[in-house]
């Protein structure tokens, strides 16, 4: 069984909290609700290590490949009322965690003002710089925000669920890259 209980956002480490903001991927619309939810609940017992291995997704940007690592899907068990409070669609049945795009610097921002001496490149990025980099990529026909959303959606739609989920190697299952033009 590959599905578990739910979760969602607001990462907090010690005093640090992280609220969730929602963007409606399906409709391309935006929400900025500072909410998200989790469900308590029974969910299935977790799978073993193999089932827990992250999937690595790749999106082709010219010669560059930007991997998105996505966890296996888990069941959302929040009540409808809880979902409403958290801004989670009532019709949501499963969820997965998508890791940060930790290779964004090499794929998208290579021509931006990168601080190559810092091992934590992202923490030094401001929204304006990310926006500028994405805008530059978009103007070059490489990547748009809508393209990213569609890429995530397209990739998620291809992730098998339930019993059809394939066995994964301990280092994760590598999916073939997909071209943004084909989305």
């Amino acid at each position: 069984m590959l599905e578990d209980a739910p979760t969602s956002a607001r990462a907090a480490a010690g005093s640090a909290g992280a609220a969730a903001s929602s963007s409606g991927a399906a409709a391309g619309s935006t929400g900025a609700a500072a909410a998200s939810g989790t469900g308590a609940g029974a969910g299935a017992a977790a799978g073993g290590a193999a089932l827990s291995a992250a999937l690595t997704l790749s999106i082709s940007l010219d010669e560059a490949k930007v991997p998105l690592a996505v966890s296996p899907l888990s069941l959302v068990t929040l009540s409808e009322a809880e979902r409403a409070v958290m801004g989670i669609p009532i019709s949501a049945r499963r969820f997965a965690f998508v890791y940060p795009l930790d290779e964004l610097d090499t794929a998208l921002l290579a021509r931006s003002q990168r601080n190559s001496s810092s091992p934590f490149f992202f923490k030094d990025l401001e929204e304006e710089r990310i926006a500028a980099a994405l805008a530059a990529a978009a103007s070059a026909g490489e990547w748009t925000c809508e393209g990213v959303l569609r890429a995530v959606r397209a990739r998620m739609e291809r992730i098998p669920t339930g019993a059809r989920w394939p066995p994964m190697a301990s280092d994760g299952l590598r999916w073939p890259p997909i071209a943004s033009d084909g989305l």
């Binding site: 969730a20 965690f97 990025l125 990213v148």
Partner: protein, 154 residues
């Protein structure tokens, strides 16, 4: 053209987030993570107080290729270097050569595990609701107060 969706998308790319899908496997929503600093915000999901994460958890998650570099400054400043998402109820395979009773995570709603530069790693179980977070914080504060009182007495 800059749109309203971009800040949320940037947060999603930079900090990660959750993707919700329907029964038909259609992606319904992406939920990004953004720091707030609020521990007991009633509007959103939060985390329980951090618990120590044994070294072997970190080693196993690294072996599975699941530890990712920290991208949030606030977490980096707290000493975190890498993190992983653990599914609800997930347990990790115990090293085969161990004879010790190995502690497994208690996280019915999932958790984030952090590798720390100090070597003292942490995990933060997702809190199901605000009341649980508040209750745990009250217990934590009470324990700290009792500890301080005992120190003063001694």
């Amino acid at each position: 053209m800059y749109s309203a969706v971009e800040p949320a998308l940037h947060a999603f790319l930079r900090s990660g987030g959750f993707v919700y899908v329907s029964a038909d496997n259609e992606v319904l929503q992406l939920t990004s993570l953004t720091p707030t600093g609020a521990f007991d915000d009633e509007d959103g999901l939060g985390f329980l107080m951090g618990r120590p994460a044994p070294e072997w958890w970190i080693a196993e998650l690294e072996r599975q290729g699941r530890m990712h570099p920290i991208t949030l400054r606030v977490l980096h400043d707290e000493g975190a270097t890498h993190f992983a998402w653990m599914k609800p109820f997930e347990t990790l395979p115990v090293p085969p050569d161990t004879t010790l009773a190995m502690l497994q995570p208690d996280h019915p709603d999932g958790s984030f595990v952090y590798r720390m530069r100090s070597g003292h790693h942490w995990f933060f179980p997702v809190a199901p609701n605000h009341a649980a977070r508040k209750r745990e914080r009250q217990v934590f504060v009470a324990e700290i107060s009792r500890y301080d009182d005992q120190r003063r007495i001694s």
